[in-house]
Amino acid sequence: MQDWLPERGEITEVVGRLSSGRTSLGVRWLAALTSRGAVTALVDTDNVFDPTSAMRAGVDLHRLLWVRCRGRRDTALCAMDVLVRCPGFALVVLDTGEVPPRLALTAAFRLKLVVRRSDIALVILTRRRLSGPAATVALETMPAGVEWAGQRPRRLDALRTSLHPLRPQRARHPVTGEASRPARWRWSA
């Protein structure tokens, strides 16, 4: 799971609350692709992206197009629509913030077709499910603890999170129906 990257031509949703590792996962994928020379884009609805921490995570900022939407959710969707229609981007990340916009099911499936045609990996970082069944992969991130180091002053060492697959259904065991074991992540501060 650590080396898994969103598939091109598909929509991947990462659902989670704050401090669940949702953004770190998106930044991780941006780092993995930009370091290989791919061109990526981030639609930042609430203008919360921190380039300093992203650079420390390995993102090549030259290969990242940052679109700041200053809280305008519909504009963020329009910006994402413009980006996914431009072949050549390896990954487009839409960070919807804490109050995600509404996306009609028909619009979501239209988006899926566009993404498939332009062969772009679209990742949606969101608080709740947005694109419904149009997303090929949906993952839920959950906090699993904080690690501190040192005595006084202490310092934040790492954030532990877990990753639960929500889609596709085959993520569940085909016979027992049990959900597959969640992946554990440790994000160094």
Binding site: Q2, G16, L18, S19, S20, G21, R22, S24, G26, R28, A31, S35, R36, G37, A38, V39, N47, F49, D50, P51, T52, S53, A54, M55, R56, A57, G58, D60, L61, H62, R63, L64, L65, W66, V67, R68, R70, R72, T75, C78, A79, V82, L83, C86, P87, G88, F89, A90, P143, V146, G150, P153, R154, R155, L156, A158, W185, W187, S188, A189
Partner: protein, 498 residues
Amino acid sequence: MTRIACLWIPWFTAAAHLRSEPSLGDRPLAVLTGTSPAARVNEANSAAREHGVHPGMAEAEARARCPQLVTRSVSEVLVASARHAMLDAALGVSPRVEDGGPGMVYADIDGLGRLFGDDVAIARRLLRAARAVGLTGHVGVAGSRTAARIAARGSQSITVVPRGDDETWLASASLDMLELPAALAETLARWGVVTLGALATLPRNGLAVRLGAVGLVAQAQARGEDREPFVPYTPPPFWEEAQGLDWEIDSWPALAVVVGTVLERLCARLATAYVSADVLVVRLGLATGAHDERMVSLAYPSRQASAMLSLIGLEIEAHPVAAAVTHVSISAHAVRVTPGPATLWQPPSPAVRDLAAVLARLAALVGRENVGSPVVLDSHRPDAIMLTTFDPSSGGELAEASGGEPAPRLAFRRLRPPRPVDVDAVSGDPRGVRLRADRAAAMEPVVACAGPWRASGQWWDERAWARDEWDVAFADGLLCRLSHDRLTGHWYLDGAYD
């Protein structure tokens, strides 16, 4: 063994003026200096020379010899443009070219055989490139610049001297081909030396004693040896084309014809060197003696004259010129555009034209100041960042070269601007934070915290800052960063780790 091709344009000044007015075709043309009636012929093309028109002749005499003669005043700008155009054309064939003076360019064609074929094929390519920028000339190929120059001045459009035969081939050439100083040429003529072969066989020591260094240089040239090193030409960042007008133009439709002609010449030059323009600088000389200069940025690098003409037209219609125009000059900032990824092993990237369109649409949606590549500034001030123009080709080295993918790192979501919060601090440590703006809301208890991490800067001016940072965890798992402004005493929520 070195192979040099020499591209020579006969009657270069006349050719430069013909280039700006292709409609003149094969009509006899004389370029004049001075003003009438004292005007004299500076240069004449081959059609005029057939009628006996030669440089130095008075205009009246030239017209008497050739009644259908077309005359133009000499324009240094046109000559300079044509000279650069020649060099650009040669650059499209060979990466190493040398400016040999007006109408003369040397190209190092050593090793180009695998790309283009034999010497004749390379010479043909050079001629085609010159023709593409509006110049017709001759090409000579030899092992040295002297031999190549003499070969180019032959009657054939292409003359190739066999490899290693420079001295033998030059032996029968007239001494006049070297264009020696008059005194030296006279001395050699007095000795009965009339061919290069005769000069090449003179005893070297005796020649040095009698004629000095000038004589030795002349002998080396006669033997097909280059004494001076090859000086490669580096194209300037801006490529210029200009056109002087014999009349004044005060409307855009009329000016568009001239601007279009200049742009076509400019784009032909760009095309021969396989580069494009991303910025155009249009300079208009006005009848009042003033100059009007404006810059037109292209959305994506291009060498399409029609698109450039439309953009310049829009610019001039939006901001009309103050007076009638008497001179047009256009400079293009040349950039090399790679059609795909920079290397074979890099993933594909958006096409330049598509990317420019996407950036323009995004700028229209969210504002130009909200689209670009983030840049982290060299400062300890929190959130010291800026946005620059998105240019993926300027990225750093790839992961394979830098040692693989990095380890998972925690990302931060930053509140802009930081949100002021009420903090219940005990001996400096935050114990509770009111995250909501509502004063009646309860304090969220802090279950763990780390800090303070002290930072300050710019104490030397009004933008001084000093703060303590705390990483705090709440009972619901939320992990935030608080900052305490030590100058004002206020607490802020900087953002959350996620």
